[in-house]
C-alpha cells in the first residue's frame, strides 16, 4: 500500500486522531494561557515573585517529558488527565515570561500619560499596558503551542489521545507492511498541525494587535 492509499483508507481514523491531538493541545493551552497570563499580571510588578514564577516554570521545562508523564501516572492515572496536566505545565514558561517582559517593556512615559489623564491603574493596565504587551504575550502562547504539539505525541504512550498513537502503532508493528505508513502519517500529521497553528496565530496576531503597533 502506498502512503496516499493508506491515508485514504484510514482517513476517518486519521481525522479523528488529528482532531483529538488538536483538542488536547487546545485544552492545555487554554488552561495555560489563563494561568500564565494571570500569574504574569499578578507578579510582573514584583521582580522577586515574577523571578520565582519564571524560575519554577523553567524548572518544569527541564523535566524530560517522558519522565514527567511517568511521574504523573501514579497520581493521575492514564489518559487525558496526565496529558493535559503535563502539557499545561510545559506551556507556562513562555507565557508567564513574555507577559512579564511585555508588561515591563511598556514605556513608562505612556503609563504616566495614562495616569496623568486620570485613568485608574486598572484601566491603564487594561487599556494601555495589556494591548501594548499583547503581541509579545501572543508570541509566548504561540511558542508554547508549537512545543506541546510535539510533546503531546509522546503522551500517547500513557494512553493520551492523538497522533502519537499512529506513531506508536507503527513502532509496535515493526516489520509489517503498514508500519512505515502509520508512523509517517502520525509524524506528518503533527507537523501539519504545527504549521496550521502557526498560521492561526499569524491571523490572530493580525486581528488582535493594534494597527498602531504594526504600521512603520
Amino acid at each position: 500500500m502506498t502512503f496516499t492509499e493508506y491515508v485514504q483508507s484510514r482517513s476517518d481514523e486519521l481525522t479523528q486522531a488529528f482532531g483529538q491531538h488538536a483538542l488536547v493541545v487546545a485544552a492545555s493551552m487554554a488552561i495555560a494561557t489563563v494561568l500564565g497570563v494571570g500569574i504574569g499580571l499578578i507578579t510582573w510588578r514584583r521582580p522577586r515573585l515574577s523571578g520565582l514564577a519564571i524560575g519554577m516554570s523553567s524548572g518544569f521545562l527541564t523535566i524530560p517529558s517522558f519522565a514527567l508523564l511517568g511521574l504523573l501516572i501514579p497520581v493521575l492515572g492514564l489518559g487525558w488527565t496526565p496529558t493535559v496536566f503535563a502539557l499545561t505545565l510545559y506551556s507556562l514558561l513562555p507565557i508567564i515570561r513574555n507577559t512579564v517582559v511585555g508588561l515591563r517593556g511598556v514605556d513608562a512615559a505612556i503609563v504616566e500619560a495614562g495616569r496623568g489623564m486620570g485613568m485608574s491603574s486598572f484601566r491603564v493596565l487594561w487599556r494601555v499596558q495589556l494591548p501594548l504587551a499583547w503581541p509579545l504575550i501572543l508570541t509566548g502562547i504561540r511558542v508554547s503551542t508549537q512545543m506541546i504539539i510535539g510533546i503531546a505525541a509522546i503522551a500517547s504512550y500513557v494512553a493520551g489521545p492523538g497522533l502519537g498513537n499512529q506513531i506508536l502503532d507503527g513502532l509496535s508493528r515493526l516489520g509489517s507492511a503498514n508500519s512505515l505508513n502509520e508512523a509517517l502519517a502520525g509524524t506528518l500529521g503533527v507537523v501539519i498541525l504545527a504549521l496550521l497553528c502557526d498560521l492561526f496565530f499569524l491571523i490572530v496576531r493580525r486581528l488582535t494587535s493594534s494597527r498602531g503597533l504594526r504600521v512603520r
Binding site: P47, G51, I54, G59, L61, T62, I63, P64, S65, F66, A67, L68, G70, L71, I73, P74, Y90, L93, P94, R97, N98, V100, V101, G105, L136, T139, G140, V143, S144, Q146, M147, I149, G150, I151, A153, I154, Y157, V158, G164, I167, L168, G170, L171, L174, S179, L180, A183, L184, G186, T187, V190, V191, A194, L195
Partner: protein
C-alpha cells in the same frame, strides 16, 4: 520540544553590570549550590523509599544496583556522545553560515530550525527505526539530528548579533578576519552559543528517554517497563533518575555559562 522557548522574547533582567560585589558572588555561589543539594536530597529520599519497599521478583529484576547503573551509564553516554557530535557539527556550521558571504543562508537556517522543532522527536526516532533498524547508532542519529538545529541557529544568531561597529573597529585596527572572528565575534557570541548548547543538552536528556523505544537502552527502559508492568516503584525510580540527570546537566550548563561568559558583559 523544550527548544529555545525564548524565541522572540526580550531578555529579562537586563541589569547593568555593576562590578562583582561580594554579595553578588555569594549569591551566585548559593544559586549554584542549591541544585546539587536538592538533587542529592531527592536521590537520598528515593533510595530510602525504595529500600523500605517489599519488592516482588519483577521489581527486583530492575531495582538493583547493576541494572540501574547500566541504564544510567547508557543514558549519560547517549546524551554526552550526542552533545559532542552536535558541538562538532553545529558550531563550525553556524560560524560558516554567519559569514557575510553566506547571509542568504540564514533565513533558510531559521526556517529549518522552526520546521525542525515542529517534527515530533518520537516520530523522528520511530521513522528512523522503521527505515534503518534499532540500536544505539540509530538513536544517536536521531538525537543529533534533533539537537543540531538549535545550536546551529544560536551560533549563527550569536555571531550575527555582534555589533557591526565592533567588527568595523576591529578591522580598522588591523585585525585579520580570523582574528576578528576568534577574539571578537566568537568571544561575544559565547553566551548565546552556550545558551543554545544548554537547551540542546537538556533536550537530549529528554529525547534519550525515547531511545528505549528503539532498543537503545537508557532510563527510558525503566519508565517503559514500569508502565507496561504497572510497577510504580520502577516507573518512579526511572522517572526521578531521568529528572535528576536533566537538572544536573542544566546545572552544569549554567555553571559553564557563568564561567565562560566574558567579563564586562552585563
Amino acid at each position: 520540544m523544550s527548544a529555545d522557548v525564548l524565541t522572540g522574547t526580550a531578555a529579562i533582567g537586563g541589569e547593568v553590570y555593576g562590578g562583582p560585589s561580594l554579595r553578588g558572588r555569594t549569591r551566585a555561589l548559593l544559586r549554584h549550590l542549591g541544585t546539587p543539594v536538592a538533587i542529592a536530597v531527592v536521590l537520598g529520599a528515593l533510595y530510602l523509599w525504595v529500600h523500605g519497599l517489599k519488592l516482588d521478583s519483577i521489581e527486583q529484576r530492575t531495582l538493583n544496583y547493576t541494572y540501574i547503573h547500566d541504564r544510567v551509564i547508557e543514558h549519560v553516554k547517549l546524551t554526552v556522545v550526542a552533545t559532542l557530535l552536535v558541538i562538532v557539527i553545529a558550531i563550525p556550521l553556524g560560524v560558516l553560515v554567519s559569514r557575510p558571504k553566506a547571509r542568504w543562508v540564514s533565513p533558510i537556517v531559521l526556517g529549518l530550525s522552526n520546521l525542525g522543532q515542529a517534527i515530533p522527536s518520537i516520530g523522528l526516532l520511530v521513522l528512523l527505526t522503521i527505515k534503518f533498524g534499532v540500536g544505539f547508532k540509530i538513536a544517536m542519529f536521531g538525537l543529533v539530528a534533533y539537537a543540531v538545529l538549535p545550536v546551529l541557529r544560536n551560533t549563527m544568531v550569536g555571531i550575527q548579533q555582534v555589533d557591526p561597529f565592533l567588527v568595523e573597529a576591529a578591522r580598522g585596527m588591523g585585525m585579520t578576519r580570523r582574528q576578528v572572528l576568534v577574539s571578537v565575534e566568537l568571544r561575544l557570541a559565547v553566551p548565546v552559543i552556550l545558551a543554545g548548547l544548554r537547551t540542546a543538552l537538556v533536550l537530549t536528556v529528554g529525547v534519550a528517554t525515547l531511545a528505549a523505544f528503539v532498543n537503545a537502552g537508557g532510563l527510558g527502559e525503566m519508565i517503559v517497563n514500569g508502565i507496561k508492568l504497572s510497577r510504580h516503584p520502577v516507573l518512579i525510580t526511572g522517572s526521578v533518575l531521568t529528572c535528576c540527570i536533566a537538572f544536573l546537566v542544566d546545572w552544569l550548563g549554567n555553571l559553564v555559562e557563568d564561567l565562560l561568559r566574558p567579563r564586562g558583559l552585563s
